[in-house]
């Protein structure tokens, strides 16, 4: 079996964690062929970002504090792994880079990516050392060395997928065939001219699925500190259970919920080639985790896989007689919000066209209100911009929703029995999920009620 194992930041938080990961690789490296992808150590990317920004804004000793923290953390780990000087060259290069940014007092997206890339380079060097300590013959690659090529959109670079897959197969394939375990830096790659880029959304998971696709892996294992995807947040629903097996489209629907879900972009290389992705917990390696596959038919009678809650949202409703039958109102609304960098979480408009409701995160609610007032009220395109704070959005996900008559009745029946008012509803035509808004305070209670009704206590 050919496996790709990707370790997240919490799984690589310190030397002890690294050794645990190395042992996990070793346990498979004997019988299977394994390629490893490493994230930066937990919190390091944030620290690097702070370092870059402090350096660009003139320093005053702040960059030194960040550098010292980064040095301490990584040198401790190197020491614990028995090679104290391991990271000195990398850390020195990082320091020179920070000095350069401080000297020009400017942080471009390109130099930000250069700084961020050190997180994965450092962790990969440490994991490589830990693997050697565990007796696993391994070889370290940066994303660039592995052959991953992207466009030049720094901070959110798009891979040239065919080229990256071809080159990664050329570089990693022979290593694996020779019995070595390649360790690849997640998240980072390079342009065709060799300038370091970062993959942005999807990050290291994206690297893992690209490497998996290049090597035609049998499975891609995403290791983190959770047991897999859950049917609900266990802090809300005590009876929440681990999802054994879901489909790629369902995983895409769940991507917005929970920090450990995979970004749809990262799922794509695996989904297109039908390579199963398994999400596992390094702190509970015996657990089966969640398997994401092409086909995961719902069990007989199974309607929903999972119930999710977005606590901190607000609704904005735009109304006005002028909107009715007028072509382009919605376009203007979305245009206005996008110009202000506001992300729309949910959209709802009835066929009467008398009102459009959008949901945005609480933090962007006031900015959205201001933008729409200027963009729509002043121009007469709409009459009112109504804001509803303290709203929660509940999403019900599962392929069993599709084509099952009476699902909506059961779903909203359960909400009605709790005497809670549904403020807005949205359902995509894929029918893989239904989202609706309720008062924030009622959110957890409704999640519990729906879990009981649709999934089982």
């Amino acid at each position: 079996m050919k496996l790709v194992m990707k370790f997240g930041g919490t799984s690589l938080a310190d030397a002890e964690c690294m050794c645990r990961c190395a042992a996990l690789v070793k346990s498979r490296a004997g019988r299977d062929r394994v390629a490893v992808v490493a994230s930066a150590m937990d919190g390091v990317t944030e620290e690097l970002l702070a370092l870059a920004e402090a350096a660009a804004s003139g320093g005053h000793g702040v960059p030194d504090a960040h550098l010292a923290a980064l040095r301490r953390r990584h040198e401790q780990a190197a020491q614990a792994l028995g090679e104290p000087g391991l990271l000195a060259p990398l850390l020195d290069r990082l320091e020179r880079l920070a000095e350069g940014i401080e000297a020009v007092a400017e942080l471009t997206p390109r130099s930000r990516d250069a700084v961020l890339s050190f997180g994965e380079r450092l962790s990969t060097a440490l994991l490589h050392r830990a693997l050697a300590g565990a007796g696993v013959a391994s070889r370290a690659f940066t994303g660039q060395e592995a052959g991953l090529v992207t466009d030049g959109r720094f901070g959110d670079a798009e891979p040239l997928v065919e080229l990256s897959l071809y080159q990664a197969a050329e570089t990693l394939g022979p290593a694996i065939a020779a019995g070595e375990t390649p360790v690849v830096t997640g998240f980072i790659a390079a342009t065709q001219h060799g300038v370091v880029t970062t993959l942005g959304r999807g990050g290291s998971d994206y690297t893992a699925t690209l490497v998996g696709a290049a090597l035609k892996a049998d499975e891609i294992w995403i290791w983190s500190d959770v047991d897999g995807l859950m049917s609900a947040d266990p802090r809300i629903v005590s009876g929440a259970r681990r999802l054994d097996r879901i489909s790629f489209p369902e995983a895409v629907e769940m991507a917005q919920f929970g920090a450990k879900a995979m970004h749809p972009r990262a799922l794509e290389p695996a989904a297109e080639r039908g390579i199963p992705v398994r999400m596992k917990n390094t702190f509970n390696p015996e657990g089966q985790g969640t398997l994401i596959v092409n086909e995961a038919a719902p069990a007989p009678g199974e309607i929903a896989r999972s119930i999710h809650l977005l606590r901190d949202t607000g609704l904005i409703t735009v109304t006005g007689a002028a909107m009715i039958g007028r072509v382009g109102t919605a376009a203007r609304l979305f245009q206005t919000l996008s110009e202000h960098g506001i992300n729309i979480r949910m959209i709802s408009q009835s066929v009467s066209e008398a009102a459009i409701t959008v949901a945005v995160t609480g933090a962007q609610l006031e900015a959205a209100r201001a933008a729409l007032e200027v963009g729509l009220l002043r121009t007469g395109a709409a009459r009112h911009v109504l804001v509803e704070e303290d709203v929660a959005i509940i999403a019900v996900v599962g392929s069993g929703l599709r084509g099952t008559p009476g699902v909506a009745a059961r779903l909203f029946g359960a909400v009605a029995r709790k005497r809670v008012n549904v403020i807005a509803i949205a359902q995509g035509s894929s029918e893989l999920s239904v989202s609706f808004a309720v008062a924030r305070a009622a959110g957890p209670e409704i999640v519990r009620a729906l879990h009981e009704e649709l999934i089982g206590a």
């Binding site: 090529v149 466009d151 040239l160 997928v161 065919e162 080229l163 897959l165 071809y166 080159q167 065709q192 001219h193």
Partner: protein, 339 residues
């Protein structure tokens, strides 16, 4: 249009001669005046931004074995990748001999051309056999043209023909004879009752087969062309590893006889339907694929248009050079028409 030519063997020299011979006609018909600003061969290079003199290039190659020996414009052993990136040429012509086993250097040159904003014409099948989707993607990313019509059918425009057929219709199956050498051998076996080895010897005597004929007789060359067809025309991303390949070494006189008895002939057939395969197969004697000597034939089954076939000579230096010229004119028109 300024050209950088890599490979100064049979095809490269034929191209240089053809560009000279057609100079007036190309200008009259297409307002196209190509000039060779650089030539790289395996041992050296020559460059002149005003255009190199073809007669002098030939002389240097003939007497010293490399264009690097050209007086004044000859260059010692420079890194070809650097030369490609730095060159003021607008188009790279990759005319090195095909090597499926080691396509790396050729791929590196094409990548260097693309990333420095140059269009490319390639007649080396090696890079296309293993990395065509990647190269097409990289050319698209850099907004440059990538043409390789000389790789299939040589001078016979088989890829363009197939592309035209596929436009507005669906290619449901492809069956083709894509290798002249093996077709000649099988044709001789049927015509003269020769054994495989006798027919191969005759092919070598006539210069149809190379001294090491394995790429031809083992089906590798045919499979490579099939991969190019599948990627370039059917938009099916694949590489040579995806083709099931059987050569013609195992074809016996008895099999050829038996086929003849039922009015069939044995051909090395490249086929795309559900999968990709290259193997000796019996085809009816009246099939359009039953072409004599070293000819090639490409048959497409179209959902609406029915069966269509193109027959022509598949290889040869001058023939392949015309294919390169065709690609260059194409690029010339396409860059001329973009605002």
């Amino acid at each position: 249009m300024k050209l950088l030519l890599v490979g100064y063997g049979v095809v490269g020299q034929a191209l240089a001669r053809l560009l000279e011979a057609e100079r007036a006609a190309l200008y009259a018909r297409h307002a196209f005046s190509p000039s060779l600003v650089g030539v790289i061969d395996s041992r050296g290079a020559a460059a002149d931004p005003r255009g190199l003199d073809v007669a002098a290039l030939h002389e240097a190659k003939r007497s010293h074995g490399t264009v690097g020996a050209l007086p004044i414009y000859g260059l010692g052993d420079l890194d070809p990748i650097e030369l490609i990136v730095e060159s003021e040429a607008q188009v790279l012509v990759e005319a090195t001999p095909t090597s499926v086993a080691a396509p790396g250097p050729s791929i590196a040159r094409l990548k260097a051309a693309f990333r420095s904003g140059k269009h490319a014409v390639c007649v080396n099948k090696g890079p296309l056999a293993v990395a065509l989707p990647a190269l097409l993607e990289l050319a698209r990313h850099n907004q440059v043209e990538f043409r390789f019509s000389g790789t299939v059918g040589g001078g016979t425009p088989m890829l363009n023909f197939a592309q035209e057929c596929a436009r507005g219709d669906h290619v449901t199956a492809v069956r083709a004879v894509l290798n002249g050498t093996t077709n000649f051998i099988l044709w001789r076996m049927a015509l003269e009752g020769e054994t495989f080895h006798a027919a191969l010897a005759e092919a070598m005597r006539l210069g149809y087969a190379e001294r090491d004929p394995s790429a031809d007789v083992d089906g590798i060359d045919t499979a490579t062309k099939l991969v190019i067809l599948a990627n370039g025309v059917l938009r099916r991303a694949c590489a040579i590893g995806d083709v099931s390949i059987t050569g013609i070494r195992g074809v016996t006189r008895e099999q050829v006889e038996r086929a003849r008895a039922s009015r069939h002939v044995i051909k090395l057939v490249a086929e795309i339907d559900h999968g990709l395969s290259v193997a000796p197969r019996e085809v009816p004697a009246d099939s359009p694929l039953n072409v004599p000597a070293n000819l090639n034939a490409l048959s497409l089954e179209l959902r609406t248009g029915g069966d269509v076939t193109l027959v022509g000579r598949g290889a040869g230096g001058p023939e392949t050079a015309t294919a390169v010229l065709r690609d260059l004119i194409d690029i010339w028109h396409s860059i001329g028409s973009t605002p």
